[in-house]
């Protein structure tokens, strides 16, 4: 039997509820009537036969039975019960609509592809049989259902009308797997893709595998795969596929730029690449792009201030979304360090080689021109309560006083702390120290280097300031002559002031992973998007190209996401995939039983009226 209007369970629940209500009404006794009588003596004398009933009794069980039967027949009529084998259960169709960036394409003089996809989808839905259930999935980098399986045409058309294109490349195999999972176990199912059908090489291989997997499914449960390709290929389109920037290691305000431009068309084309920052044009390059080929464009420019860098190609073509790419340039701020020393010749070469640090050498007790971010005390006793972050090399005498034991004649550095950011890159063991004493370490201090079990370097955080303490004078050690020494100093300054951003690389839309903790992520449109954390990384799905704001506990940073290289290989459609949807089994006109149930229901209705009326007359 087929239950179309409501399921058997729903019908049973409705009938149970109505029957329970009827029984309750039959059992319900009105409040006893108060009656004034001349005497109660005779009532007392017949107490046995006039005792009030403790258990409620149905006054007229036949009337109740008739009413329950009437309700059952009415519910069956509402359920639209039909004889078995005469009805069509409907097919289950997973409809995949390509919402990748390619669907934004608008060929000259034609409608955008997304409009054609919508029209094709509407036509497909209209041709379905009434009982067919359709799942509509938006296929882009993700595969998200627009509407779950439904036979409601209005809901289908509404979902198709609300379908929008994204700025991502479609992951069609992923969408197909989702569709197959959705129709798994269903007879007469189909997976229908509507879109441009553009793949890259890995996707093409996965689709081949998908086809083979489909063939291995039992025939009764094997979904029919149909592909409705939209638009002609190739199209005349050029797009920026990559934009990357890096600082010059010697000049932090100098940037090197790489832009990759691809020609998807069948003809070679001249394209002008314009680089601008915050609307100020820096450079224009003309590129000669071969058909179906990409070409890199390099550029260098000096720009100390931060800003939004845009790369744009012209003339406009069929797809506007990949004609522009953005990158966010961080502001360069060198670290100001003051070195208090009597003999600057040891540390001067170290800092001279570091363009990210501006140093001021001062004698002990000297006053720097500005408040430094880092103070370095080279064999100079530090102030008892430092006001800034500091690196302290204890003088030999101070080292003697700081330790409890006698200074060792020579100590060899035996281990570095690989967990701490200051020493995580240091491996050298060929370091010896004389006139050093063990440093007193607190519970919150981190030992950076040991000589056996004696700490030689300690990182400390107190009163909001960071400090690196060395238990030796650099002149009493061979460390300044080691390659590790500039690295140690740079890492210590970076630990204190934060990393200098050397890159301004850009990401691509789709699934994005970003290192570091983050609280909230805002899309270019300003809308907050959901994210997931995986360890020290956060994952998010970016469907829109542009500048994303990522707010975290240590402030906000910006992430530029541009369109990825779009797949440019057409889906090779087999004849089966281009065929029509298998016809629905012929629907014999189902005999509707509800009029019969309504007529039958009149009998118990009359019986209920008859029995209840009889009871009233007796009363």
């Amino acid at each position: 039997m087929n239950w179309l209007a409501i399921s058997p369970l729903e019908a049973a629940l409705i009938w149970s509820a109505l029957a329970a209500a009827a029984v309750w009404l039959y059992l319900r006794h009105p409040r006893p009537e108060l009656k004034r009588v001349s005497t109660l003596r005779f009532w007392r004398s017949i107490e046995g036969s006039s005792r009030p009933r403790r258990r409620r009794r149905i006054g007229e069980p036949w009337a109740l039975l008739a009413q329950v039967l009437f309700l059952l027949l009415i519910v069956l009529a509402l359920a639209d019960l039909r004889p078995a084998g005469q009805d069509f259960e409907g097919r289950y169709v997973a409809l995949l609509l390509d919402s990748s960036a390619w669907s934004q394409l608008r060929p000259a003089g034609q409608a955008p592809w997304i409009e054609r996809i919508r029209r094709e989808a509407d036509n497909f839905v209209d041709r379905l049989a009434p009982g067919d259930h359709v799942l509509i999935v938006s296929a882009d980098a993700d595969a998200s259902p627009l509407v779950s399986f439904t036979a409601d045409r209005a809901a289908m058309h509404k979902a198709i009308a609300a379908f929008r294109a994204s700025d991502t490349a479609a992951d069609l195999p992923r969408a197909l797997e989702l569709a197959r999972a959705a129709v798994a176990g269903k007879r007469r199912s189909a997976i229908v893709y509507i879109g441009p059908g553009l793949l890259d090489e890995p996707q093409a291989r996965r689709i081949e595998q998908f086809r083979r997997d489909l063939q291995q499914a039992p025939p009764a449960f094997r979904p029919q795969l149909l592909v409705r390709r939209v638009g002609d290929w190739p199209v005349e389109n050029r797009g920026i596929t990559r934009l990357a920037l890096r600082r010059d290691t010697a000049r932090p305000d100098r940037w090197r730029l790489l832009a990759q431009v691809h020609n998807y068309g069948r003809r070679a084309a001249d394209t002008t690449l314009t680089i601008s920052i915050d609307g100020r044009v820096l450079e224009r390059q003309t590129l000669r792009l071969a058909a179906g080929q990409g070409q890199p464009a390099y550029s260098e420019f000096t720009w100390a201030d931060g800003g939004l860098l845009e790369a744009e190609i012209s003339p406009p073509d069929a797809l506007a979304a990949d004609n522009r790419a953005v990158a966010y340039l961080p502001v360069f701020r060198p670290v100001h360090a003051a070195v208090f020393t009597r003999d600057p010749k040891i540390l001067k070469p170290v800092f001279a080689a570091n363009p990210y640090v501006v140093t001021e050498f001062l004698p002990p007790g000297g006053r720097p021109a500005a408040v430094p971010q880092v103070a370095i005390y080279d064999a100079v006793p530090p102030p008892p309560d430092p006001e800034t972050d500091s690196i302290v090399f204890l003088p030999a005498g101070a080292a003697k006083r700081a330790g409890r034991g006698q200074p060792a004649a020579e100590m060899r550095l035996t281990a570095w702390n690989p967990q701490h950011p200051v020493t995580r890159w240091l491996r050298t063991r060929d370091v010896s120290v004389t006139a050093a004493a063990p440093l007193p370490t607190g519970a919150r201090d981190a030992v950076l280097a040991w000589s056996d079990s004696v700490p030689l370097l300690v990182a400390r955080q107190q009163n909001g300031h960071k400090q690196v303490l060395a238990a030796f004078d650099p002149r009493q050690s061979n460390l300044p002559f080691q390659p590790a020494f500039p690295l140690l100093m740079a890492a210590a300054i970076e630990w204190m002031t934060g990393a200098v951003e050397e890159m301004a690389d850009t990401g691509t839309t789709g699934e994005v992973r970003v290192a570091g903790p983050a609280g909230r992520v805002f899309a270019p449109s300003g809308a907050e998007i959901s994210l997931a954390r995986a360890g020290d990384q956060l994952q998010l799905l970016a469907f829109q190209a542009g500048l994303y704001r990522i707010a975290g506990p240590e402030g906000e940073f910006k992430l530029a996401l541009n369109l990825p290289p779009l797949p440019a290989q057409r889906w090779p459609v087999t004849p089966d995939e281009s065929s029509e949807l298998q016809a629905a089994p012929p629907i014999s006109p189902a005999r509707r039983l509800w009029p019969l149930f309504v007529l039958l229901a009149l009998v118990p209705l009359w019986a209920e009226w008859h029995f209840a009326g009889k009871l009233r007359v007796e009363s």
């Binding site: 006794h29 009105p30 006893p32 009537e33 108060l34 009656k35 004034r36 009588v37 001349s38 005497t39 109660l40 003596r41 005779f42 009532w43 007392r44 004398s45 017949i46 036969s49 006039s50 005792r51 009030p52 009933r53 007796e618 009363s619």
Partner: protein, 301 residues
């Protein structure tokens, strides 16, 4: 408020042919139309007896003496005033209205008032003294009417002015009645006799006092057989006691049996004590009850 006309004019005219029967020899004031079993100065010849010394020679039958040569004295039946005392129950139980839709819509108390008026009229019609005595827990101020039917109007007014209240205490009322009215007479008690203490003692006292009494049991059909079925909360009109009952046809039949058994007990009680008992069902028109029912019970003729 009851209508002043408790008895209509046609019925009053009919009552002129009805006589209240006495089953006892009651000594009253001579001069009534009411025949007595006492012999004495009267108009109607009763018997002869032999003359003895001291008899009034005016009553000697001289014709018999001439024929038989013996002195016979003519005996006449005395016609005495017999006081008719109507005790009407005015307790709250008399005020219970019959259920709507019943055949007789006559309220029980009004029915009793009509009967009281009937008995008073019958008494006045025969030049007897009619005394109307309301009672409940005790007797209330009575009305004494004598001197013929012209005095009936005050009786009507008195009856119309009566209302119901209090509980029935028949024994106390009868005791008080016997103390207040020492002379023998006809005592008609109009009541539903729903006194929890029963009527035995009261009836026996009436018998000991020598009254010719009539117990008229006034009740509604609903009091004989309940007409309402289902769960009911019943409230005793006199005591205020409430009782939850389930009324059904079976229970109603049992109730009727108990009621009729009670009526039978009352009837036997009256008979045992030389009195009469009549059951006045309010569904029966009072004229029919007076002319047929009371006649059947040998209360009137």
């Amino acid at each position: 408020m009851a209508s002043p006309l408790l008895l209509d004019r046609d019925f009053l005219r009919t009552l002129e042919e009805v006589t209240l029967l006495c089953r006892k020899d009651l000594s009253g004031t001579i001069g009534s139309d009411h025949r007595s079993r006492n012999h004495g100065p009267g108009l109607e010849f009763a018997d002869y007896r032999r003359y003895s010394f001291g008899d009034d020679p005016r009553f000697l039958d001289w014709s018999a003496y001439l024929r038989l040569g013996k002195l016979f004295l003519k005996i006449y039946q005395t016609e005495e005033h017999v006081p008719v005392r109507v005790l009407i129950d005015t307790s709250r139980s008399m005020d219970c209205q019959p259920e709507s839709g019943e055949p007789a819509g006559e309220p029980k108390f009004r029915y009793a008032l009509r009967l009281a008026a009937t008995f008073a009229y019958l008494a006045l019609l025969r030049l007897d003294t009619a005394v109307v005595i309301p009672f409940a827990e005790s007797i209330r101020k009575p009305l004494v009417a004598a001197g013929g039917r012209e005095r009936f109007w005050p009786v009507m007014e008195f009856l119309n002015g009566l209302g119901c209240g209090g509980r029935t205490d028949l024994l106390a009322s009868v005791k008080q009645f016997l103390r207040q009215f020492t002379g023998k007479g006809v005592a008609v008690i109009l009541s539903d006799f729903f006194d929890e203490e029963g009527a035995e003692r009261a009836v026996e006292m009436l018998r000991f006092a020598g009254h010719d009494f009539v117990l008229l049991h006034v009740h509604t059909p609903d009091e004989q057989r309940p007409a309402s079925y289902g769960e009911l909360v019943l409230e005793d009109a006199e005591t205020g006691e409430r009782r939850r009952v389930h009324s059904s046809p079976e229970a109603a039949a049992a109730y009727e049996r108990a009621f009729l058994e009670y009526c039978g007990r009352l009837e036997r009680l009256a008979a045992r004590n030389g009195g009469r008992y009549g059951r006045a069902l309010t569904s029966v028109p009072y004229q029919d009850f007076v002319l047929r029912g009371l006649r059947g019970d040998r209360v009137v003729e």
